[in-house]
Amino acid sequence: MTIKICDAAFEPFAEIQTFQNALALNGKFGATSIFIGTMRDFNDGDNVQAMTLEHYDGMTQKQLAKIVAAANSKWQILDCLIVHRVGDILPNEPIVLVAVWSAHRGEAFEACRYLMEELKKNAPFWKLEKLATNEKRWVSKI
């Protein structure tokens, strides 16, 4: 179970591939469910040129670890990987990656969805958008 906070652009498919190659789970997992959140150039009716992702270093890791522990107690998960970007981000760059490996698909799908929903609810990140007009705007909870 790995949680990574990274302050530079990451390649989600390379991250997953490298992580999976290192798992000693050949032939053991039948299902992998993955979610990738990517920065859009449009939000709430406005064009967005860039974004800054602030977080509460330490609390982020602590909350994500609690979420992963909760998912582990709910489903039979073989492994999972969470990567979240912080700092300055441009449109089309990945923001978050959640990947779950399990024996069967139900567990993988449900745990992956759960991890994403809980991350959005509890992990202390805040998005500050820079609009095309150069105006800065904090994203507010929908």
Binding site: Y56, H84, F125, L128
Partner: protein
Amino acid sequence: MITVRYFGSLKETIGRSNEALSVVESLTVLAVWHCLNGDLPLAENMLTAVNMDYVARSSVVNDGDEVAFFPPVTGG
């Protein structure tokens, strides 16, 4: 000594990100806010954490704790 931290739009609103508070007795989270921010109300949707766990505003803060105030989170 209590460490107090502010994040996101709240940090901008109050113009500070970090401060310390020396206290002689235990205070609630909300009392910590008012000690440092006077009558400024802590908006209802603001979240509060002690030692990196979410807590209620009525939760008691002890010497050495880290208290944080921040708006609803928007990661992912």
